[in-house]
Symmetry: C2
Subunit: 393 residues, 2 copies
Amino acid sequence: MTTPFKITPAAPAAIPWRSAPEDRAGAVLTVDLKALVENWRILRARAKPGCDVGAVVKADGYGLGAEQVGRALAGAGCQTFYVAHLDGAAALRRAVGPGPRIACLNGPNRGTERDFVAHRIMPVLSTPEHVKAWCAFALTEEVLLESIVQIDTGMNRLGLSPNEFAALMDDADGFLGLHPQMLMSHLACADTPDHPMNREQLTRFIPALSRFRARFPDAKGSLANSGGMLLGHEWQFDYGRPGIALYGSHPQPGHSRNPMLPVAYLKARIIQVRRVDTPGHVGYGAAAKVGEGAKLATVSMGYADGFLRTLSNVGTGYLDGIPVPVTGRVSMDLITFDVSNVPDSAAQPGGFIDILGANLTVDDVAAKAGTIGYEILTALGRRFHRRYLPASG
Amino acid sequence: MTTPFKITPAAPAAIPWRSAPEDRAGAVLTVDLKALVENWRILRARAKPGCDVGAVVKADGYGLGAEQVGRALAGAGCQTFYVAHLDGAAALRRAVGPGPRIACLNGPNRGTERDFVAHRIMPVLSTPEHVKAWCAFALTEEVLLESIVQIDTGMNRLGLSPNEFAALMDDADGFLGLHPQMLMSHLACADTPDHPMNREQLTRFIPALSRFRARFPDAKGSLANSGGMLLGHEWQFDYGRPGIALYGSHPQPGHSRNPMLPVAYLKARIIQVRRVDTPGHVGYGAAAKVGEGAKLATVSMGYADGFLRTLSNVGTGYLDGIPVPVTGRVSMDLITFDVSNVPDSAAQPGGFIDILGANLTVDDVAAKAGTIGYEILTALGRRFHRRYLPASG
């Protein structure tokens, strides 16, 4: 290839950017840490006295950045964090410092015990193998090891079964070497307040906790996720573990007005605005028709950025406050919107179409995509420019 | 919280890991770079003589790692890469060195021109505004600037419309200062060989290319994505731009045996194996029933890792060569499989369930999820441990 301008020589890693990250990005994600902290306070206000309201920040803080989210909440007084994996737990420990408790929900893989101790992460022990391995490590180290024990109360996903829990409790040495802080279980249907499963699980949890406390008088109980916090004091016990509500999604969609504030704002850059001069089709598979005179805007974002492909032909954006429908299939790096209703002055290349915002919530997008707000958040891409609005000030 | 073991003091960032990344991870993604290179060679063998067969490595190399993919293909002789965004282009430049061409498909955002030049990235100019800005920059810099011009031939997604292209060609100064290497367009329906759109787009592209070459005799043509490469020599022109086929997905699914080799292998770690002792339900919403005696395995991976939630109750894994269905809803960090058909000796905590592999291709999973292989790949998570099998040796 001929190269009419000077080729930059070696070590291109050292080339400084001349343009701002926001100007280079195809989309800009703004995370309102003040709203996040306010959501945590809203949940705390609903908690019974003495209940420690923590924060679930797994999956990189539901896609919004576990370190930034963790620092903001720790700054506001949150004392307990829950992550899924050890690597995320250690990264969070670096972010929030030595003070807060950090629990690792997916438990300790074999051979990782020393790393849990080094970063002071509490493993959630959900299986007889977890308990056995953690006890063996405690005995080797000759210390009492902190931990959380999880029992299953009907979700059949993770946690000691009733029989497994009973066998360990029947064995005087079943937890030898452990110093469990917490007995926890997880609600399957807390997003549906009137689901009978909620009380069934509560009814199973209470006697198990009593039995556990007879052995470990200091141990606390934890049952409530976001939905569980809203079910009422009965479900809250000592440690609340809200996740999705912190990020602004409604923990019990359809059952009341969403009490949470929006936290995530996403806008995608318009690359091209096109006035269609001959009727035809839009996008892959020619799956959408477009008539003469229609005005289309294509943005620099796609399903590789987490705009789920199920939003093809059904998703919506907002441009200058006007709803604009997705037309055709969502591409990997591009989405085309029909902006025929938007004045030319507002529909210009270089402008932005709102993808998530005050009038287009995570739950709205989830409903159109046939999924839940959780997946909309955790799918958020890595190519966005990310802005964090500070928690205070 | 009481802390019976010694708290590690400040600077936890400096704490070295005692366990291997693979042992800490919930899932392991293996990328077979040798198969990737072989796929590139298969496509090259189908290309007409003189056609430069490049590689589309946008969206972080379709989720598999643009830098590793780029280095492997550059090592095999691939001379042209296509990415979506400038940041990805610059990262790829660092990975592949100064030799290969790198094109930025989503074009130059305003104000980023100097960065394109500094990293020697060719912008794809798809709009009159792109052309105008790039020409203005060229005139300011008093150099001829490399670029690619994209026209729309019926997809109505990105590229100069016929009228816009004609207007620029009619203007003797329309491309003043540019040194276009390529005129490109994009096929909407190349995954369906008998779709009439394929020939329609070809029929529009040929005269546009002739006209462009009358002005820029050195300029080459580029129309074919992966599917287009398989449509035949007529569609290939000078630069082929395969993407999905390199990564092992069938570029024309359902129309022939997949000629590509699998590249991605993904396995998720079993946390718990549970023998159900009382009939009940599995997972969120109690959306799946489970009978007494069923055996369930829960793995340390979920939709936050790209196992799309649409796979709830319909996805499949493989354990020890035996298909195991997803039971219940996919959770953010956990998936439960029914492993009743697998012997206890094979279904053990610490073992792995295959999520993608030789007998469970990207296209198989996509079909169950109601999407395309592209989205399965680009959704792949960031929490996996990633292993790269070398391209040679």
